[in-house]
């Protein structure tokens, strides 16, 4: 039911006599009220009749063509804003073009940098593999060298077991280790009879076919044990045998054969 106040508002609305604020509020009510909408539609027919009651004035004949001509080119541009002129019209397009070109250049540059980086990464990977391979080869060579050095070192070693030549001291035994490269050795003996103070045992290195070379004197403890490092008085080319003789204190230049107590095979 439309009350009198709303009828007044509707009448003022169709005549355009409401203030902007009043018109805004009335339109909100109108949108939500179908009955009021139908009422306004009927009132609008009255204002339409009022409009038709004015003296008829024909528009200029040329106006029709003018309006139709404006419609044609605007057919696809009716919703576009008005065209700008001069710099204002070209500036946005120029900026857009520059940005597009810049983006294209950056894209190409980016692609090139990526390709270069990928190539470099492949090269680095190859170099790393090569370095690992070389390192491995180096390690192998070092191990080979060490093995050869060890083999060479062992080749220069002479180990000899010295057995007792005395019937009263059958348990006496000694071991001699000679490093020919260093011209030095280690000698260890067990169960050898201790000697009086005026007597010493003397160690000898025998080269094949040459004179025995003095390797120093030693004494054993109460248990008949001693371990000494020794050097020959003369250079040894090829160690042959080792022997121990009992000599006067301080040793002698040549071994006393009859006093030989230990000898290697």
């Amino acid at each position: 039911m439309i009350d009198e106040r709303m009828e007044e508002q509707a009448a003022l609305h169709v005549l355009g006599a409401l203030s902007p604020q009043e018109a805004y509020e009335f339109k909100k009510v109108l949108q939500a009220d179908p009955e009021l909408k139908a009422y306004v539609a009927r009132l609008s027919e009255a204002t339409g009749a009022l409009a038709g009651a004015v003296p008829a004035v024909e528009p200029p004949p040329q106006l029709r063509a003018k309006i139709l001509a404006q419609v044609a080119p605007k057919q696809k541009m009716v919703s576009l804003p008005a065209r700008k002129t001069g710099l204002a019209a070209w500036l946005p397009w120029s900026l857009a073009t520059c940005l597009a070109v810049l983006c294209l250049l950056l894209s190409v540059q980016n692609s090139r940098v990526k390709n270069a980086l990928a190539t470099q990464a492949q090269q680095i990977s190859s170099l790393n593999q090569l370095a690992q391979s070389l390192q491995s080869a180096t390690n192998d060579l070092q191990q080979t060298v060490l093995a050869l050095q060890e083999t060479n070192r062992l080749a220069g070693l002479r180990i000899a077991m010295l057995n007792s030549l005395l019937s009263d001291e059958p348990k006496a035994v000694a071991v001699s280790l000679w490093d020919n490269s260093k011209q030095e050795g280690v000698f260890e003996v067990q169960n050898l009879k201790p000697l009086p103070a005026d007597r010493d045992y003397q160690l000898w290195v025998l080269e094949n076919g040459t004179t025995p070379v003095d390797a120093g004197v030693f004494r054993v403890d109460q248990n008949g044990f001693v371990k000494i490092e020794f050097k020959a008085k003369l250079p040894i080319k090829i160690p042959g045998k080792f022997a121990v003789t009992e000599e006067v204190h301080g040793g002698v230049a040549s071994p006393t054969i009859k006093n030989m107590v230990l000898a290697s095979n």
């Binding site: 009448a11 355009g16 203030s19 306004v40 339409g48 004015v54 003296p55 008829a56």
Partner: protein, 219 residues
């Protein structure tokens, strides 16, 4: 002294009298018959789809009504041409918004051009001068044969409409014309006529209802 008393209403009241048709201004064939209304709705639908031929036909059917309203409000042929042009471009763009359930296409077009004309007055600061002139200038045609309604509805219907308008009480018709043709708000009408706002509202309401009742049943 009341402002009403300062105006000479005789020229206006003289228009209330329906005079026999003199030299008939033959416009186009009536365009407000039920068939024509259907055609208008179809034309607007086609215009919304970008049909220039339909647009040209709609122009032929309603440009006289619209130009007449614009000329009456603006009282300047150049301005009226501008407004007519702007309004038809508006129709070209917004034809899809027309709802046949809310009224005739001719009423819709008349409202569009009326609003454009009022906007132009307000934009050009001519409103105060036109407001002063309102009520003294000729709004309604002397002869029904000179009106747009004869083109829209035919001679018989146009005469009924003209009679309905003429028979409105003077103060009601005055308030209605000030609002519709001069673009005055209810407050401005109240001040101009030195009449309470409530009275203006009541006059407008009663006048439009009476006019609507008179026209009810017309095609």
């Amino acid at each position: 002294m009341s402002l009403c008393a300062q105006f000479d209403f005789m020229p206006v009241l003289r228009f209330f009298t329906v005079e026999p048709a003199g030299d008939l201004v033959h416009l186009n064939k009536p365009v407000n018959s039920p068939e024509a209304q259907d055609q208008d709705a179809e034309l607007l639908r086609q215009i919304a789809g970008g049909d220039r031929t339909a647009f040209a036909e709609f122009y032929d059917r309603h440009s006289t009504l619209m130009f007449s309203v614009a000329s009456r409000i603006l009282n300047n042929p150049g301005d009226a041409e501008d407004v007519l042009q702007e309004t038809f471009l508006q129709i070209w763009e917004k034809a899809g918004k027309f709802d046949p359930a809310l009224g005739k296409a001719s009423s819709w077009a008349a409202t569009l051009v009326r609003n454009k004309a009022i906007d132009k007055i307000r934009a050009s600061q001519r409103r105060s001068r036109l407001a002063e002139e309102a009520g003294t200038a000729q709004a309604i045609a002397n002869d029904v044969a000179d009106t747009v309604n004869e083109n829209l509805h035919g001679p018989e219907q146009a005469r009924i409409i003209q009679t309905a308008i003429v028979e409105l009480p003077g103060e009601q018709r005055q308030a209605i014309e000030l609002a519709y043709f001069s673009g005055l708000t209810q407050d401005e009408i109240s001040k101009k006529l030195n009449t309470p706002l409530g009275t203006i509202k009541a006059r407008i309401r009663r006048g439009l209802l009476k006019l609507r009742d008179q026209l009810e049943g017309m095609p």
